[in-house]
Amino acid sequence: MFDQFDTNVILENLHFLIAGMQLTLLLTVAAICGGLVLGTLLALARLSGFWILSLISSTYVNFFRSMPLILVIFWFYFLVPLILGQPVGGYYSVLIAFVLFEAAYYCEIIRAGIQSVRKGQVYAGQAVGLNYFQNMRYIVLPQAFRNMVPVLLTQAIILFQDTSLVYVVGVKDFLVSADLVANRENRILEMFTTVACVYLIMCLSGSILIRKLQRRYAL
């Protein structure tokens, strides 16, 4: 069976696969950035000391953490056009779904990160006259993010894999592109083996990078 393994099909459709990978990476990076911003705001709300803000934040986090990702993707695919009153296309609806979903996880990571900054550092920022937001911006968050780097990167790898779920709404990411080629060329084994190898290599290098960073910077 393996003597029929045709590598040409991969080379011939390479541009197609690369375009799929670009979309996968774009989605991953955009979801990380959006999720980090929203997650930071949620974490600050949670730690603000105002019960109403902290209740909103914790409700949000508990809600999204109870939902299967695939449900959220589906749901937003139908919900977002309804709310906006116009079709937005699969890409934007899944992007919104990912940002909102990831934010719930990032919120918890960031909250733990902020709490890992020693109280003395908070005092030191306050003592020179920084206000709450300046203290967060210049003293606490930089140290919190530094402590969080390994966890955030691990979460990014999980997200990179999870983006493949967009196939349910027909967005052409890497996996969907490969699936299309596989069916068109009738080269299912070649394509899925390739896809598996690519995911394996990318995620494995990601994990190795994290471990190197941890050792280098004693994170």
Binding site: G120, Q121, Y123, A124, G125, Q126, A127, V128, G129, L130, N131, Q134, Y138, I139, P142, Q143, R146
Partner: protein, 242 residues
């Protein structure tokens, strides 16, 4: 300049400060000492509002610290504070540790802040260390940077919370020397320390705390001429005899 009137503070049921009253006038150096856990750090943190208190009144330069309407960040920018564990910002270089609040709080220009920073680093004898990060400095050097960082705001008073107790013995003097200079320049200082040599040299008054209360508040001479109470006596014999 600093005035505390009947200040009490509780952590839940536990009373950390019990009816504390004292005063530090302009240009005065006052040393606060007492056993560990007696509330010295808490007291000094109440002065610039880092800790809240439930009863009494604290005035700094005529401004009520406990008043909800007081602009605490602005008030704090006028009070320098030095911590036991230095608390330099680990992610910023020495220069940026000293510059940050000058730029963000006092809104000084980059040139002004640079100028001030270099001046202060020379004053604490660390001009050659400006580009290093805190972790690359010895404890004594870090504490001198911390003093420079506080002085960069041109404070009208300085608070010290055991500035030398986390230092190796050979580094204590380099920090105390900077503090003695400051005192001679007429800085108003409230210093929590067990360095009795320092206290004798520059302090005008000594406050002795125990279990959240100010047990003694007398001139330095009186304190060392054994007019102190039994608890202060016991405490002093403990720290002087090891």
């Amino acid at each position: 300049m600093i005035e505390l009137r009947n200040v009490s503070k509780w952590y839940g049921d536990f009373q950390v400060l019990d009816d504390c009253s004292t005063m530090v006038s302009k240009g005065e150096v006052v040393v606060v000492c007492g056993p560990s856990g007696s509330g010295k750090s808490t007291l000094i943190k109440c002065v610039n509002g880092l800790e809240e208190f439930q009863k009494g009144e604290i005035q700094f330069d005529g401004i009520s610290v406990g008043n909800k309407k007081t602009d605490l960040p602005k008030l704090r920018s006028k009070i320098g504070m030095v911590f036991q564990n230095f608390e330099l910002y680990p992610h910023l270089s020495v220069v940026n540790n000293i510059k940050l609040a000058q730029l963000k709080v006092l809104k000084r220009s980059k040139e002004e802040a640079d100028h001030k920073t270099i001046q202060l680093l020379e004053r604490v004898g660390l001009a050659d260390q400006s580009l290093k990060f805190p972790a690359q400095l010895s404890g004594g050097q870090q504490q001198r940077v911390a003093i420079a960082r506080a002085l960069a705001m041109d404070p009208i008073a300085m608070l010290f919370d055991e500035p030398t107790s986390a230092l190796d013995p050979e580094m204590i003097n380099e920090v105390l020397d900077v503090m003695v200079e400051l005192a001679k320049d007429g800085m108003t200082m409230m210093v929590v320390t067990h360095e009795m040599g320092f206290a004798r040299r520059v302090a005008k008054r000594i406050i002795f705390m125990d279990e959240g209360r100010i047990e003694e508040d007398c001139s330095t001479d009186e304190f060392f001429d054994s007019q102190r109470g039994v608890r202060a006596e016991a405490f002093l014999s403990k720290i002087l005899h090891h």
